[in-house]
Symmetry: C2
Subunit: 312 residues, 2 copies
């Protein structure tokens, strides 16, 4: 049992377009890092740093208002020894980006504190604690960022089955490309503006796409992935808040994407694509975004990105 631990948790693509609130994919190359140290009473935040290592200009040090500390506190209260914990949070995921920023912090907080427990829990048992953080950020219990950030890869996590979350096999030779335009979308606001009902036809069509997509992934059928990686319900309601989306989407499809949609509630846009085309696709999406006068950054990631890890 150590007195300090550091965990990294990756960013993720929530919804993965076709699976609103129930499907997510971990990313590589971008995530949050949380160091937990034994300290005085309760769970406190010592520091929050931005990606350049400066004190974060926006995020609160109030432990009741940061997903890392909320998750850490939930775990510590349930399984800790009554001592105190101090957290140091290094944000790597851009805020309000649709890249699962709040989930990455929550997962990293839970994984870091778990290492300080006398009997650390198995990784998958940390999900409910990380979800406590996500609940604060988004106003609901959905695990489509938390579960892939914790477990890695592509994860199915329907709200009705939580805390069960099922890591899925993914087809070989397919990668994810994510482009983050420099805009901000507030997840909880984006959720409140969604229609409260869908037509029977929309329900059946969207459910059919998800069923087909999961089958395509299980069987490695890229033609079926292309036919099913669609969001006909949520994307049309959210696309207006990301004016550059249509241009990025069209560029992605022209460059060979199997499908493209908003990541979470946006503004980030993701595509799945045969790995050999991923670099070119990222460039095409970035170029299209830039042509709309919006700065952006992109990441390319296998569908088998690892989940959270303890660094020391």
């Amino acid at each position: 049992m150590s007195d300090t631990s550091t965990a990294f948790a990756p960013a993720s693509i929530g919804n993965l377009g076709v699976g609103f609130d129930m499907l997510g994919l971990a990313l590589t190359g971008v995530g949050d890092r949380v160091t937990a140290r034994r300290g005085r009473d309760g769970v406190r935040i010592a520091d929050v740093f931005d990606p350049s290592g400066e004190p974060h200009p926006v995020l609160s040090r109030d432990p009741g208002r940061n997903t890392a500390s909320i998750a850490a506190r939930a775990l510590w209260q349930a399984h800790g020894d009554g001592g105190g914990i101090e957290l140091e949070i290094h944000k790597g995921v851009p805020l309000q980006s649709g890249m699962g920023s709040s989930a990455a912090s929550a997962v990293a907080g839970a994984v870091a504190v778990n290492a300080l427990l006398e009997d650390p829990l198995p990784t998958r048992d940390l999900l409910p604690f990380a979800l406590e953080g996500e609940r604060y950020a988004s106003g609901g219990i959905h695990a489509d960022n938390v579960a892939p950030s914790l477990l890695g890869g592509m994860v199915l996590c329907p709200p009705a089955l939580l805390p069960n979350a099922i890591p899925l096999r993914t087809p070989e030779g397919v990668s994810a490309v994510l482009v983050h335009p420099e805009l901000k979308v507030h997840t909880a606001d984006a959720r409140r503006s969604l229609a409260e009902s869908v037509s029977r036809q929309q329900w059946i069509d969207q459910q059919g796409y998800l069923a087909g997509f999961l089958t395509a992934c299980a069987y490695g059928d890229l033609d079926l992935m292309r036919a099913t990686l669609k969001d006909i319900v949520i994307e049309p309601q959210r696309a207006a808040s990301v004016p550059c989306f249509p241009a990025i989407r069209d560029a992605a499809l022209d460059a060979g994407a199997l499908g493209v949609s908003l990541s979470g509630s946006g503004p980030s846009v993701f595509a799945l694509v045969a790995t050999g085309l991923a670099g070119e696709l990222a460039l095409a999406m970035e170029t299209a975004c830039g042509a709309q006068g919006v700065e952006c950054q992109s990441w390319v990631s296998p569908m088998t990105a690892p989940g959270a890890r303890l660094e020391h």
Copy 2:
């Protein structure tokens, strides 16, 4: 190229509870049989027999009003040689039973006529022709009976992906039990009475169950099948037309069913269950049905039941 052919097509469980309009399972031991013979102009019906071999008391001999001849005619008009076809239809599937009676006739008609073509089509290419028959019977294009009757086993066939229909792997050691209470439900009427919209929560929950069920089948996870074989949207709307349903359902769950729901629009009720418990389960469901004062018949079937076959 022969002058006569006979095809058998099995009954099926439409929707399979969890996958309204997009999931179906073939049954063994019950189906329709159609003999096609070269005859005079066009596609005609020579005879329709009931299961006891008597002239059928209900079904029309008008080729525009029987799904077998409608499917046969669609295929023959597209690929036939301009000669005539006479059909002899042996109904084995009870009418308005929720067992895919109209689909079995349509599939048997298409398969029988296919054998008389100079260049018979591959089996899966018969789906659109069989669907023409189903469209007449139910007023919509959904393949959840036609596809399993044609292809066998469990088939995913979302309307938005048709004519693509995807045979799915099923877990070993699981069987289907179907109980047919002696009531009739008219499919097209049952469909018209369904609500035109669902809440976002219902959509997400039901879609989550289907996604989980397909994953459970792909991975052979019976606990997950048990957690996901549910229909929270359609079954509550239809159960009132099958008064004996709650008693049969409860008996099935008590006897170890993984899940239980209406087959198609009812009145038949199906359950999935570990194969070792299937006989006992069928008995329990029959007993519960009988205790409601309703005669019934039951079938037990593996999840790998074969699809339509040419008999000679």
